[in-house]
């Protein structure tokens, strides 16, 4: 089969897939008797029309950058980490333990401590399926799905028992101390007479997420380990022949992936809720799959895709507020993005390949 030109592969294919997903979403909106154009206007207005809207969009985007990177780095080793949800849940547990039980003098130290807690527990939760894949050959997709459910049950158990403050009825930890409060965009960018991002949850974690994008980019394309991860992803037998240990690559890749998913918790648990509640991940682990697929597993693409999904999330919330379109419409759009950019990829690529081969000057065949 003819290869597509690089620009078509990177820009045209995802763009057409996205367009297909958008058209189908518009049809869904039409089918339930609403106007897709005014819905889009409302979403743009609600998500991007004010610093408040941007504050929510970037808050959601921060979550999705972490989970998107988590899925992407596993994709580079041709591993499908569907367990971001569980790893982020455990990351939340790590953040809560660090913030509740250690008295931090300043938020910057607390942030570092919380990042370590989130990353360690997230990585540990990914390490078990990774070990089972590497050593026992159990399929990582199935084990990570199972670990999502086990994580949910574990957190449920801890929140109604050990971690719940005495006398509280709610399944949640105590509120974190004031000293662990992360500066929000409102704290950072507002001046005395011009309040920006009022009440929006976006916080300093957004910059940590941006930094994570750069670090992952460096890791994948500019280090020996990244090279090994990519070679293993292209051909595990060739990588093995070249002296790369599959066990090592699977373990390390999955632990980095789990740590990234876990790090999401510094945004939603430490930055927003400031305590650990049940179901705080809210499906962000799964959105990471859509984000990684749309961003072609490249940190820059993931950054853009995460902001797009942040926009969809905030816009969708506004839609649910002002129209009769329920919030679940976003789940439909997310599903269509996954379907077209992930599973039906070839449906877009095959006709394009035919189209491009028509225009290409065919070299004289020697066969």
């Amino acid at each position: 089969m003819n290869e597509l030109p690089r620009w078509a592969e990177i820009i045209l294919v995802p763009l057409i897939s996205l367009l297909l997903a958008a058209v189908l979403s518009a049809l869904v909106i039409l089918a339930i008797g609403e106007n897709p154009i005014s819905a889009l206007q409302l979403m743009v207005q609600g998500a991007l029309g004010s610093t408040y809207g941007w504050g929510y969009t970037l808050y959601y985007a921060t979550n999705f950058i972490f989970t998107g990177l988590a899925v992407a780095i596993a994709f580079h080793a041709r591993l499908f980490n569907i367990g971001g949800e569980g790893q982020a849940t455990l990351g939340g547990l790590g953040v809560a333990l660090v913030c509740v039980y250690i008295p931090w003098p300043h938020w910057s130290l607390a942030l570092i401590g919380a990042m370590v807690g989130a990353a360690v527990l997230g990585a540990a939760w990914a390490a078990i399926p990774a070990f089972l894949q590497a050593r026992r050959g159990s399929h990582i997709v199935i084990t990570t799905i199972m670990f999502n459910f086990i994580a949910a049950a574990l957190l449920n158990y801890l929140l109604i028992g050990l971690l719940k403050p005495k006398g509280s009825m709610e399944p949640a930890t105590a509120k974190f101390a004031e000293s662990t409060h992360l500066p929000s965009f409102q704290d950072m960018f507002s001046t005395a007479d011009n309040v920006l991002f009022r009440g929006a949850p976006a916080n300093v974690t957004f910059f940590v997420a941006t930094l994570a994008c750069i670090l992952v980019w460096l890791l994948i394309w500019h280090t020996r380990l990244g090279y090994e991860i990519r070679s293993f992803g292209h051909s595990d037998s060739a990588a093995k022949y070249a002296g790369i240990s599959p066990t090592k690559i699977i373990m390390i890749t999955m632990m980095i992936s789990g740590a990234l998913a876990g790090l999401m918790a510094i945004n939603n648990v430490m930055g927003e809720a400031e305590r650990l509640i049940l179901g705080s991940v809210e499906g962000a682990g799964f959105i990471g799959i859509a984000v990684a697929l749309m961003g072609r597993s490249h940190p820059f693409g993931i950054f853009i895709a995460a902001i797009l999904f942040g926009f969809l999330y905030q816009g969708g919330a506004e839609l649910a507020l002002w129209t009769s379109i329920p919030r679940e419409l976003i789940v439909v759009i997310q599903a269509l993005v996954i379907l077209f950019t992930g599973a039906l990829d070839n449906m877009v690529r095959m006709p394009l390949q035919k189209l491009f081969s028509l225009f290409k000057r065919t070299p004289v065949s020697e066969v």
């Binding site: 869904v28 089918a31 339930i32 008797g33 499908f80 569907i82 078990i128 089972l132 026992r136 050959g137 159990s138 399929h139 997709v141 199935i142 084990t143 799905i145 199972m146 670990f147 459910f149 086990i150 049950a153 574990l154 449920n156 158990y157 799964f286 799959i289 697929l293 009769s324 379109i325 329920p326 679940e328 419409l329 976003i330 789940v331 439909v332 759009i333 997310q334 599903a335 269509l336 996954i338 379907l339 992930g342 599973a343 039906l344 990829d345 070839n346 449906m347 095959m350």
Partner: protein
């Protein structure tokens, strides 16, 4: 434990195991043909909604069942097109189908019934009623056998009996027919099936569509038999428990029945913590019971209780021109 409590728990075991069993057998057909399906959950959910909605609108549970199967078949076809025709990633396709169902059911339910993403309560013929098996009343005074027959075996909805019958049927189809041999072969070594002049694509599509029908049954059972109507996310992870049961059973029908009964029993026990505490002498944690099917599956997958080896060609798109 007195007989009646035991029978009550076993009775709810059967009711809770039925959707698991149907979804598990659905997955069995698909995966034995080499198509991984983590979209069982989504197909069940879509079927649950459409069966509930149509049963409410028409007042007939059977029409609801048909609608549920139809909805599930549409999603199966999407999975088939993505993973067979366009050789896409089967796992990603399954994930997409789960989300598509989770979102669409609520969006459509909200616009159709305006009750916050659910269907109205089903009453009368819109639900599957329990069937009293012949002589159930006549034998109920016979000790043990009569009570067991009357309380446990008789008095389920027709879908329960269909599901139970499907186990031997699947076994016969899989191990005693030409179709079954081909189906198993196409999941292990599609190239050999192709060489024998049999269409891999056709066989795989048939398997995926059978999977759709069975998921449709499972979903319809949830909304029109187990409960009276559809509520948001009502499949509640059952598609994944079924997947776990499938691995537990190592992709074999009889073992699938036992795995689903075991997981159904765990769910039934989780509903009766008082009984557990009374007979075990200590309080069993409800979250532990919830997580047990998943933990058991991981243990099985880890190979501590014998190795679960999936069909060899599972998850790989078949490319003829190599």
């Amino acid at each position: 434990m007195d007989l009646l409590t035991l029978l009550l728990i076993l009775d709810s075991t059967i009711r809770l195991a039925t959707p698991l069993l149907l979804a598990c057998l659905a997955g069995l057909y698909s995966e034995r043909a080499g198509i991984f399906d983590i979209g069982l959950e989504g197909k069940m959910l879509a079927a649950a909604f459409f069966s509930g909605a149509v049963a409410y609108t028409t007042g007939s549970a059977w029409l609801g069942l048909l609608a549920g199967i139809g909805a599930s078949l549409v999603l199966s076809a999407v999975h088939g097109i993505a993973s067979i025709t366009f050789r896409g990633n089967q796992l990603i396709s399954g994930v997409a189908i789960n989300f598509l169902a989770a979102g669409l059911t609520v969006v459509i339910a909200q616009s159709w019934f305006k009750q916050g993403g659910r269907t109205p309560q089903l009453v009368g013929d819109a639900r599957f009623e329990p069937i009293t098996l012949p002589f159930a009343d006549a034998v109920k005074d016979i000790p043990v056998f009569g009570v067991v027959y009357n309380e446990l075996i008789s008095g389920h909805t027709s879908i329960v009996y269909i599901a139970l019958l499907l186990v031997p049927l699947t076994w016969i189809l899989l191990y005693r027919t030409r179709f079954g041999l081909r189906l198993r072969a196409v999941g292990e070594n599609p190239a050999s099936v192709d060489t024998a002049g049999i269409s891999v694509v056709r066989l795989r599509y048939i398997a995926v569509l059978i999977c759709g029908v069975l998921c449709g049954l499972a979903g319809a059972y949830l909304a029109t038999a187990l409960q009276a109507g559809f509520v948001k996310d009502m499949s509640a992870g059952r598609g994944f428990i079924a997947l776990a049961a499938l691995i537990f059973a190592k992709w074999r029908p009889w073992q699938a029945l036992f795995a689903c009964l075991l997981f159904g029993f765990l769910q039934a026990m989780a509903l009766r913590p008082d009984v557990l505490e009374q007979y075990l002498g200590f309080k069993v944690n409800a979250q532990l019971l919830d997580a047990l099917p998943y933990i058991l599956t991981v243990v099985i997958l880890a190979g501590f209780v014998g190795k679960a080896i999936p069909p060899k060609a599972g998850g790989e798109p078949y490319v003829k021109e190599r």
